[in-house]
């Protein structure tokens, strides 16, 4: 079910019987027709285990199921919205940036502390996202929010990309990520240039970076 961009801050989705979408609670701006918005007990797909996973993760994003027959306008806080089309690959996105997505996509959570130890914890602190991120896989569309819009930076095997963790929104493709420090310890102590921590993404795919270091 495609999302039609009305303007940079609003998308429209058509809902038909038998299909459904998931969206962030409270993200509906207006609708026509008969559409129901049900808070997700499960918090999306993936069943109980996934929900528990999310609880453990402390995922703050409550989702709702949107179904029925009509058209719905989505937007949130006047933030810019980017629609990303997935064609079988996996998108990793910060949970609170998800505005809405196709019900046919498979949703899961990924533990980002996988590099282990201190760095894993640090990453959670630095991005403010905690240790988990949401993954979406399959064929369908995802509407993602960001402060000020995003730019897409391609990642190629020869050119890994470094991203300010607070500007990171999402990435897709076959990408590995790890947190790194850019500088020597002297800079670390004095907080340096403010770029003490970076997310290093390598492999092939693309990363979406927002034009701001602010969380939503």
């Amino acid at each position: 079910m495609p999302f039609r961009e009305i303007n940079s801050k609003m998308v429209e989705a058509t809902v038909m019987p038998g299909q459904r979408l998931f969206s962030q609670r409270g993200a509906m701006l207006a609708y026509k027709g008969e559409v129901s918005f049900t808070p997700n007990m499960q918090g999306g797909q993936g069943g109980i285990m996934s929900m528990i996973g999310r609880r453990v993760a402390g995922e703050a994003t409550p989702l709702m199921t949107v179904e029925g027959s009509g058209t719905v306008l989505f937007g949130h806080g006047g933030h810019h919205i980017q629609v990303i089309q997935l064609a079988g690959d996996t998108l990793c996105v910060e949970a609170d940036r998800l505005l809405a997505f196709d019900g046919t996509l498979q949703q899961g959570t990924m533990f980002m502390g996988s590099q282990g130890g201190v760095m894993g914890m640090v990453r959670g602190q630095v991005t403010g996202q905690g240790l988990f991120t949401t993954t979406l896989k399959g064929h369908g569309a995802v509407a993602v929010m960001a402060h000020g819009g995003v730019i897409e930076v391609p990642i190629t095997p020869q050119r890994p990309v470094h991203v300010d963790p607070q500007a990171y929104v999402a990435h897709h493709g076959d990408v590995r990520n790890k947190l790194s420090t850019a500088l020597g310890w002297r800079d670390m102590v004095g907080r340096g240039s403010g770029e003490a921590f970076q997310l290093e993404l390598s492999g092939s795919g693309a990363v979406y970076v927002q034009a701001s270091e602010e969380k939503l």
């Binding site: 303007n7 609003m10 701006l29 207006a30 918005f37 006047g78």
Partner: protein
């Protein structure tokens, strides 16, 4: 050095600035030729020429208030700009657009109305927090993101509503469908699953146009007398909580100000 190179924006001067039109999506230029415009306080960013800004409701501007501005509660938020020159208006980098009303009526959230010509009459809408403009003239509205026009029938999240034109006032629509059944009962009792956040909307029917913006955060609400108990929703009538009051502005004759607010309107 007379050349100013730069890959930057177009340079404007009094000749090239448009009259009563947008300079860019976020800035509007009003041309004053010895004329007046009503303007929300603090929204002027620059001007060429000679322009005076005065609060409403005093002295010779009193007559203006009687004919054009029927909202004593709001009087302190508005000023009259008069003079000759070109004046740029903007509001917190929100999208601004001008609209022409021709013997029409439009109801708009008070925080979204930026400026209007005195040929329009401003009245307070029955729906608290909204103002109605009637007559013929131009006005400028600001919104978070471009305004989207839709036609009824439509249900709108209260916070996304900017205003409506030529159609009947909205009614409330409550959606508690998910509260029914076993699951619904569980939800209601235990609160598990929470609320979808979409339980309540404004419903519009009939002919006309509804104006929406992409935001669930309201622009700073101009104190209107009734404080919503849910953001954007009219109703309540409680004493103001957390609404920015004009700090220490003394009440001048003819302006009941906070008294009216306190007793709820």
């Amino acid at each position: 050095m007379t050349t100013y190179p730069g890959a930057g924006p177009v340079v404007h001067d009094p000749m090239t600035l448009p009259s009563d039109d947008n300079v860019n999506n976020y800035t509007f230029c009003v041309e004053l030729k010895g004329s007046q415009w009503f303007l929300q306080k603090g929204k002027m960013i620059a001007y060429y020429g000679t322009v005076d800004f005065n609060g409403i409701g005093h002295g010779r501007l009193d007559r203006l208030v009687r004919t054009s501005f029927h909202s004593p509660l709001h009087a302190s938020d508005w000023v009259v700009a008069e003079g000759s020159g070109k004046m740029l208006l903007a509001d917190r980098a929100f999208d601004v657009n001008s609209y022409d009303l021709e013997d029409g009526n439009l109801t708009i959230r008070s925080g979204n109305l930026l400026a209007f010509q005195p040929s329009l009459a401003l009245k307070q809408s029955i729906v608290p927090g909204f103002l109605t403009l009637i007559g013929t003239g131009k006005f400028v509205a600001a919104s978070n993101g471009p305004v989207v026009f839709m036609e009824p029938p439509i249900r709108v999240d209260p916070q996304a509503l900017v205003g409506w034109a030529d159609c009947p006032s909205p009614c409330h629509h409550y959606d508690h469908g998910y509260m029914t059944g076993l699951m619904g009962g569980l939800r209601a009792m235990t609160g598990i699953g929470g609320a979808s956040g979409e339980e309540h909307q404004f419903e519009f029917v009939g002919a006309g146009t509804v104006l929406l913006q992409s935001t669930e955060t309201l622009m700073a609400e101009q104190a209107t007398g009734a404080v919503p108990h849910e953001p954007g929703v009219p109703g309540g009538g409680h004493a103001p909580t957390g609404h920015p009051q004009q700090p220490g502005a003394p009440r001048l004759p003819g302006q009941l100000g906070d008294l009216q607010r306190r007793f709820g309107l």
